[in-house]
Every structure is written in structure tokens, then in C-alpha cells.
Amino acid sequence: MIADPQLELQPIKIIQQNQEKENKVKFVKAVLLDIFFVFYSIIVVQRAIYYKFILELRDIPFSWGEVGVILLISIVIGAAWTSTKTSLSCKLFGISKDNKVTKWTLEIFGWFLFNITFIAGWVITRLSLVDLFSSEGIQGAERIFGALFKPEMGIFNDAVFAMIETIYIALLATLISIPPALLISFVTARNLMKDSKFTFVIYYILRIVLNFVRSIEPLIWAIIFSVWVGIGPFAGMIALLVHTIAGNAKLYSEAIENIETGPVEAITATGANKVQVVWYAVVPQIVLPFLSFTIYRWDINVRMATIIGLVGGGGIGTMLMQYQGLARWHEVGLIVLMIAFVVWVMDYISAKIREAIY
């Protein structure tokens, strides 16, 4: 058992090389993050705090040249700061020097960032207690809440039909979403796709596409499709469908990523191929989570369907929008009560079903 000295050395070298590579990547990330922090601080302090809060300007001067200059300054400061290894990002990525300067930077700059963010938020949202409690405001609130307690029952039948439309929009969107979401979820599960470069590229691209689709709210999809296929329940259904596929594929694939790895290992060890491993070791573990997610998604979709009705997706939301536009608050009151009731019932039913299948 006399080992070749060259082979003996090799493993340690590999470990060192890996570490060096990792530290380089971390440093680049830290530089970028530090530049962002500095840029953010300067922009926020200059625009939100100096111009708006202190000078109380109505129209804030803006030019790309100015932003460019600030960016240049931040790049210089950020890069310099990171290279001292005492910056906030160095600490975050774990490559900082462990001394007092780092500690102070962390405390002072962290606190500074938090505060300017809070002040900027205050300025931008025009937070105003005066508006909230003015006599005019209180009157408006009385009008709305009063209507809720005296709903107009004359439109009850129409509202029920619209509600049924909404529930079916949600149901159909959920049902149609199942097959495509299933298919996509298997190719966006990291543990199934990481083995070869080719599949990993597919995984990566699909993940990006899914994240993009999901980051566009159903409300916006509804606007897009109401132009595409015309205002009405079909536009609403398609909008929900698109978002549901993206959302559920993500949830399903996470369920696949969270399975017990033991059975997968055992079936792989028998010499089974990829498809067999998935069918025997993965699928039995994910059937229940999939069912549960799908039912929950239907429940969410009923709520979403009322909202996308507001932009022309059909159903009860569209009806609500019409009466709100006419300022007929008692009709609005009835619709709001009905939505609340149906959402509550759906929530209850879906929770019960999910309890029962587990």
C-alpha cells in the first residue's frame, strides 16, 4: 500500500484551487454589491432626502449625466472599499478581515442604510396622517362602510351568475394548468436535471422563463389577453392559466426537490434508467403534495379571478368595476359581501380537502 507521492499531493491541490476560485468569485460579487450600496446611498440621500425632504422641491431635476457621474463615483468608492476587505459586502460574503473597522462599518453603515430607506419610503409614499383623519376622509369612509351594511338586493341574481362565472374561470384555469405544469415541473427540478450539462441548460433556461412569467401578475396578463382575445371571461381564464402554470410548475418542482433521496439512490443502484427512477422513486412521493398544491391553487385562483375581473377578465370583478364607476355604493356593498362569503367558503373547503388527503 505504498501510494504514489504525486497522487498523494493531488487532492490537496484540488481543494486549494477550488477555494481560490471560490474566493475570487466572492470578491467580484462583493465589489458589485458594494458599488450598489454606495450608489443607492448617494441617490437616496440626494434625491429623496435632500431635494424632497429638505428643499421640498416639487419637480426634482433629473439628468442621465448626473446619474452617470454618481455611478462613476460609486464604482470608484465601492471598488476601493471592497479591496480594503472591511466593507459590508465582504462581511456578507464571508471574505472580510476580522477586525474592529469591519465591525464599525457593519454597524454604522447598516444602520445608515436602514434609516435612509425608511425615510425615503416615508417621502415617496407621501405618508400623511392628516389625510387619514380629515373630516372629508371620514365622511367617505362612512359612505363605503354604510353601503356594506345596506347592500342593494335588486342585483342579487345578476351577482350570483357573475360569481358562478368567476368560480368556473378559476376552476378551468386550474384544471387545464395541471398537465403542462406537471411536464414542466420535472424538467425544472434541480435534483433531476443537474447530472448532465445538457439537461442543466434546459433546467436553467426554463427556470428563467418561469420566473419571468410568474413575476408578471395575473392582473397584467389579463390586460394583455383582454387586448388579444377581447374583454371577457376567456381573457381572464387565459391570464389565470398562464400564471397558474408558471406558479404551480415552480411549487411542483420544489416538491420534487424536497423528496427523500434514499429511494432515488436505491432505485438508481439497481441499474434502472432515468425514467424508471422518476416513476418508481420520485412519483409516489409527490402525488399528495401535487394534489394539495392544485386544490390550494384553485382556492387562490377564485380570489385572483375576482381581481382580474376589474381589468376586463369577466365575472364578478367586472361587475364590481361597473358599479364602482357609477358610484353606486349599495350595489358595490352587495358584491363585496358576496365575494367575501365565497372566498371564505372556498378557503374552508380547500383546507378541509387538503387535510383529508394527507
Partner: protein, 253 residues
């Protein structure tokens, strides 16, 4: 010679150096037991042998063939010849015992027939035969997760028997079982080793079991072999070297 491992190294992505130049040979029909503390590299070694993981350096020869870096279909072929039993049984919980046993045959079955679970009568016969070998053929139709730990491990053994393996690997097969059940499960390994002539490589913790079943012992410490020999030669001094100064032997019967 069945298996020849030479100067095997495994370094995980996180930098852990799990195996540091392991070399040993296994003859046909041996019952080799590997002992050592948790984290000494026992599991990694087994997984390098049946190529669930790929070694960083060194070679593994199985049946005279270098399998250290085989890929794809060839790798599957190699895997079908090596059975494996795990500490956590790793059965498919929601499926029947019979389906679990048949899943050991997947390497030789077509993709479509296995998805639709259309198996030939000979596969069923073989599955029942395996179940009879481990003595639980009467449980064939019940769900795997309703069995006790010892029974689940026997199903796992039956599953590996479906492969007609030349080599059976067992990764701490009795570590989650009580002493009495441990012994009965070990007896099935002995039976397979003696009656079918299958070579067994088994990770174990309890020395009393090692002395009773092993024909040869390898002790690992921090990824290196520190002892090779007959189980009866492990005395107090060796025991302390393998398990550390404070260790004391626990007897189970």
C-alpha cells in the same frame, strides 16, 4: 478476483476529503465487513464501488474491468450486477411489498412495461422466490411502509436479490434496528453469502456482529485503512485505535 480497489480518493465539492488512498482486494465468496467511526468514509467507499458517486482519483476494478469512470448504459449494466442495501431501507413507501421487490429488476426491464407495471410471469415468480428467501412472502400485497423496520430491511434484501448480484453491498444495514432484529437480518446476509455464494461487503458498527459474521475485516479511520485482517484478531488495543481512547465495547447478542 471479484473486486480490486486501488489508491481510491474521494473529495466532495465542499472540500471534504472522505477517502485518502484506499486499496484492497475482495475474493469471490468473501463476507467482508468494514468498520470505523461515523464519518470515517465507510459509506463513501461503498458508493464509490457501485458508482453511485464518482471517485476523484484511483481505480475500481470489478470482475476484471475498470469501472472507475464508466458512464451511461455501461454504468447501468455495472449497477445491475451489484446489489445494495441501505441503513434507512429506502423502500418506496406507498407501494406494495411486491412492487418494491420487482423494482430491483428494473435494470433489465423495458421502460414502458415498467411504467405500466406489465411484468411477465417469470418476474413475479422470481419476486416471490426472493420474498421466500427472506421469509416474508405472505406480506407481498401490503404497503411497504406498514411493515416493521426488520421486515422492511428484509424486503430491501429481497429487492437486491432480484438483481442476482455478484456483489452485495450493505451500508449499515442494521444500524436502525433493535439488537434481536439486527441479528436475524444479519443471518439473511449470511444465508445469501453461504448458500448463493454472493460476495458481501457490509458496513457495521457492532463488533459482536462483526466477529460472528465476517470472514475478513477492514477498519477505516479518517478515510484511511488502518487495519486489515481476521475479525478474531481485533483485540483491545486495535479497538482503541479504531474507535478512539475513550471507546468501550458494547456487547449485543
Amino acid at each position: 478476483m471479484l473486486l480490486k480497489v486501488e489508491n481510491l480518493h474521494k473529495i466532495y465539492k465542499n472540500g471534504t476529503h472522505a477517502l485518502k488512498g484506499i486499496s484492497f482486494e475482495v475474493e469471490d465468496g468473501e463476507f467482508l465487513v468494514i468498520i470505523g467511526l461515523s464519518g470515517s468514509g465507510k459509506s463513501t467507499l461503498l458508493r464509490c464501488i457501485n458508482r453511485l458517486i464518482e471517485p476523484t482519483a484511483g481505480t475500481v476494478h470489478f470482475l476484471g474491468r475498470n469501472i472507475t469512470h464508466v458512464k451511461g448504459e455501461e454504468l447501468r449494466k455495472v449497477k445491475t450486477q451489484i446489489g445494495m442495501v441501505f441503513q434507512q431501507f429506502n423502500l418506496i413507501k406507498r407501494r406494495s411489498v411486491l412492487t418494491n421487490v420487482i423494482s430491483g429488476k428494473l435494470g433489465e426491464l423495458g421502460t414502458f412495461s415498467s411504467i405500466f407495471e406489465k411484468f411477465s410471469q417469470s418476474v413475479y415468480d422470481e419476486a416471490y422466490k426472493s420474498l421466500i428467501t427472506v421469509g416474508i412472502s405472505e406480506k407481498a400485497d401490503i404497503r411497504a411502509d406498514s411493515l416493521s423496520g426488520g421486515q422492511q430491511q428484509r424486503v430491501a434484501i429481497a429487492r437486491s436479490l432480484m438483481q442476482n448480484p455478484k456483489l452485495l453491498l450493505a451500508d449499515e444495514p442494521v444500524a436502525s434496528l433493535d439488537p434481536a432484529t439486527s441479528n436475524s437480518v444479519m443471518q439473511y446476509f449470511e444465508k445469501i453469502n453461504k448458500e448463493m455464494g454472493t460476495t458481501v461487503i457490509c458496513n457495521l458498527h457492532f463488533l459482536s456482529l462483526v466477529r460472528r459474521y465476517a470472514t475478513r475485516v477492514i477498519a477505516l479511520k479518517a478515510g484511511e485503512i488502518i487495519y486489515q485482517g481476521h475479525p478474531s484478531e481485533i483485540n483491545e488495543t486495535w479497538f482503541k485505535t479504531i474507535y478512539g481512547e475513550e471507546a468501550e465495547e458494547v456487547e449485543i447478542r
